[in-house]
Subunit: 154 residues, 2 copies
């Protein structure tokens, strides 16, 4: 019987585990970059995968080359904590009401309304009712695609 | 009485009129460039100006820095002739049905569906029913903002 080779692997310390996560993230980014070539696609929202980000937040993505649509269901009471991103965001509300804290203002965006959010402008939001929204982002949000959006999952 | 100065202006020939149009276009582009700075805006579609492009085509624009939303009503029979543009386009249909001729295919996009159109891909469309759509463009379409989109106005 062959003697089992002694493992030369280092024990998994927190620093190697951090570097593994970083490597995973790099690979994910590469996949996203590869997917970025523009494509003609005919999609139905009904067939696009729905991700349960939290029990109060459901998300679907249609990813273009430089633009991404995110169709969101935010159940009443869903809070999107303070965050900001380099991506320009246009939030279109189709049903319900979403309250934003942004630029030292409180803004309630209702069905039939749109909020345009410049890149890097910190904001927080709360669903005052069950809310259907489509967020448009430029460029597509790598953290939503890679599911590295920890601020949403607390 | 002061003698009227003899005009030194050249008579308006077709070439000077062409250069005037070019100058106007340059000024319009500069205005659009100036408007491109990202801004926090809270808008209601009900309050956004509606342009009657033709009796079969009505259009509203919400213009961000790098992304533009165009809310369209295409009445049954409205034809958008063959054209292409450098802008990436995501066409979201909310009511009705829009038939596209694109990439040697015929694709009918219905309510709840999205067509992603890469930059520079020629396409034509026809509304099979009264259709509400929101087109997302990156970057914003200067020809729609400046109303130099003659292909739509034939």
């Amino acid at each position: 019987m062959k003697k089992a080779k002694k493992s030369t692997r280092k024990p998994r310390t927190s620093s190697t585990s951090a570097s593994r996560i970083a490597l995973k993230d790099t690979i994910a980014r590469k996949i996203v970059r590869k997917k970025k070539t523009a494509e003609l696609k005919h999609l139905s929202w009904d067939q696009v995968e729905t991700e349960e980000v939290t029990p109060l937040l459901y998300r679907q993505l249609i990813i273009g080359e430089q633009v991404m649509l995110a169709r969101l269901l935010l159940k009443k009471g869903c809070v999107v904590p303070w965050h900001s991103h380099v991506n320009e965001q246009l939030s279109s509300i189709f049903e319900g009401a979403l309250k934003f804290w942004i630029d030292e203002k409180e803004i309630v965006v209702r069905a039939g309304e749109v909020l345009t959010i410049p890149p890097n402008m910190p904001h927080k939001a709360e669903a005052l009712e069950d809310t259907f929204a489509i967020d448009t982002f430029h460029p597509p949000r790598a953290d939503w695609i890679n599911k590295t959006d920890k601020y949403l999952r607390k």
